[in-house]
Amino acid sequence: MTTVSQTPHGVTSRNEFAELHGVQTLTFAKALTLAMADAMAADPSVVVFGEDVGTLGGVFRVTDGLTRTFGEDRCFDTPLAESGIVGMATGMAMNGMRPVVEMQFDSFAYPAFEQITSHVAKMGNRTRGRVRLPLVIRVPYAGGIGGVEHHCDSSEAYYVHTPGLTVLTPSTVADAYTMLRDAIASPDPVVFLEPKKLYFAKDTVDLDALRARHTAAAPSTIGRAVIARDGTDATLIAYGPSVAPALAAAATAEAEGRSLQVIDVRSLVPFDDTTVCAAVRRTGRAVVVAEAPGFASMASEIAARIQERCFHSLAAPVLRVTGFDIPYPAPNLEKYHLPGVDRILDAVDELQWEDA
C-alpha cells in the first residue's frame, strides 16, 4: 500500500483542531470532526469528500473547518452523485488513500448501493487480500429529528447483511471520536452510522486521553460491545439512537425495583457475541431495542443468535422492540413509531416473570 508523505497543497492555515486539548465539553458532531481532523493531521493519505462537506462543512457541520485547515485537496465537495462518491473513494483507496466520505442522509446512500455491495464489500476478498479498501462511508442515520421523508431511515440492516463491511455506530461523544478514528485506521471498509438525533448531544470528555488511545495503539473498539449500565434482572441490547431510551428505561425500571442491564452493541459487524452472551446468560432475559423496522433486521439477528447460543439460560423468549414494519413516518407521527421507554418496559414486563 503506497502512503502519501505530503500532498501538493499542504495545510493552508493553522490547525484549529489541534489547539483543543484536555477536558472539553463537546457535541457528538464536534467529536466526529475532531476525529477526522486528528486523523488527517496524523496521516496525509486521509481525505474527506462528499456533497457540501467543503465550504459549507456538511449539512450537519460535521466536516466544518476541515477544508479551511487542511486545504481543498484534503476536504472537498463532489458533484451530486453518491455512486460517484463511493466509486471514486474505492479507486482512491486502491491507490494509497484513506477516503472518508459522507452520504448526506441515510436514504441518499442508496444510489451507491451497487458500489457498496459489489465492490466496497467484496474487493478485499475478490483479490485474496491484495487490494484492501481502507475507506469509511459516514452515514447520518435514523430518526427522531422530525425529518421529512427519506431523511430518517435506519438502514443498518442492508449493510450488516453484506459480508465484507464493518458496520459501526457510536452512541456517546467519546465513542464518536474513538470509533471514527478506529474506523479510519481500519484496513477494511467501514460503514459508519451516525445517529442524527445525537449530533448535538453534548458530553464532557478528556480529549488528551481519547487521543492517547490512537498513538498508544489501544485495543480497537471494532468488534467490542460495552455494558452501558449494569443490572441483574434482564438485559436490554441496543445501539446507536436506541441506547438512550434503553438507558432511560433502565432508570425508570430501577425506580420500580427491577434491575436492567444495558448493552451498547456499537460494533454491529463484527458482532461481540462474547459480551452479549455472557450478559444474557447471567440475567436470563433479553430485550433487543432498535429503531429500524424489525423484520429481517439487526434486531432479528441479535435475537436469533442469543436463543441459539443461550437457549438453556433463557427464562423467556428474546423479545424485540423495534420500529414497525413501515416506511419511516412523517414528523407528526414518528413518536408512535420509535421505540420509547414505555414500549421497552412493556416488553420487559412480558418476559414471563411469573415463570421465573
Partner: protein, 381 residues
Amino acid sequence: MTEHPERSAQAGGRGTTFLLPSVDVVQLITADGAAAPAGDHKADYPMPNLETLLAGYEQLVIGRRVNDQAGALVRQGRLAVYPSSHGQEACEVAAAMCLQPRDWLFPTYRDMVAVLARGVDPLEAFASLRGDWHSGYDPHEHNVATQSTPLATQLLHAVGVAHAAKLRGEDTVALAICGDGATSEGDFHEALNFAAVFHVPVVFLVQNNQYAISTPLVHQSVAPSLAHKAIGYGMAGERVDGNDLAALLAVLGQAAERARNGGGPALVEAHTYRMQSHTNADDATRYRSDGEVAQWVLRDPLVRLEKYLSDAGALGAADKDRIAAAAETLAKTLRDGLNATTTPDPQDLFRFVYSTPTPQLDEQGRSLAAELAATPTGATS
C-alpha cells in the same frame, strides 16, 4: 418499434449540432422589461400574447406570495421546512402553464409553486411540509406526481408515464423538473437516454439556479452548458433565461407541443438563481456573497414582466388589485389552514403500506392501539 427522426443523425458528426442549444440563451424580455433583441436562436420563439403573459404574471405574484408566506410559517414553527423557489417563480409558473390538464407534471421538493399552479389544493400540498404525511394530495387528481426528494429519480417516472401513454396512443406529455445538482446523478442520465431511445413525449426542465445547496455549478459540471448534455442522448437541448416568463413559455411550449406531436423528448436548461437559502435550515451566507445575490435581484422575474405588461398597457391598477387580492386569499388559506391543529391518526401508519395490511401490520397496529389506550397521553415517551 418507434420512428426516430434523430436516428438519421446516427452516422453524422459535427453536422448534428442542431441538437445543440442555441448560441444565445433564449430571452424575449430583458431584465429591464423591454422586448429582447433577436438572438441567434436555432428556432423561432415568438413572444406569447399579452393575455397569456398577464395570466402568467398573476401566477408569478401568487407564487411569490406563497414563497413568502411559507417562509413566515416556517419561522412561526407551523411548517417543518420550506425549500423556497423565490426568484425561480417564472420557471415554476411556465412549467405548469405549458401543460394541458391531461399532461403530467413531475416536480421536486422546490416546486411547490408549480404544483399549486397546476391546481393542487394548497393545504393538501403543504401537508408534507407541515409533517402530517409524506404527500398530501392525490397525484391522479391533477396529474401531478408527488414532489420528489431523491434527486433525479422522478425523471424516470416521467419517462414511464409518458411511455405508458404513448403505448395507449394517448398524446399526453410529461414535464419533469430537476435542479442543476440533480443532473450529476445517474438517474438523470438513464432518464434522458430512455426518453430518447423510446422517443417518448417528455420535457426535461433543468432549473439551473447555480447551486446545489452550497455547491456552485462549477463543481457540478464543466460542460459548455447543461443543455449541451442533450446531444449525448440524441435529444434537442435549449437554454433559456429562467427569469423571463415569456421566453420560458415559448421554449417549453414549443418543446411540449413537439413532444406531443411525436417529436420526442427535449432538454431545457433555465438559467435562474436561488435567491434564498436552500431551505430555512441552510445558511447561504456561508458560501456566497451578498454581492452575487444582489446581481440577481436586478433580474427578478416579476419586476421585468410587470414592467413589460405595464408598458404594453396590459396591466392596470385594477389588474394589480385583483391579483394582489388573489395572492392574499391564498396566503390566508395557508395561514388559516396551517395554524389549525391537525391530529393524524396513528393507525394510518399501518393502513397504506400495502393495499391490504399484512397480518404482521395488523398485529403491530393492534399493539400500538393497546399501548395508546394504556397511556392516555397519546404517545410513548
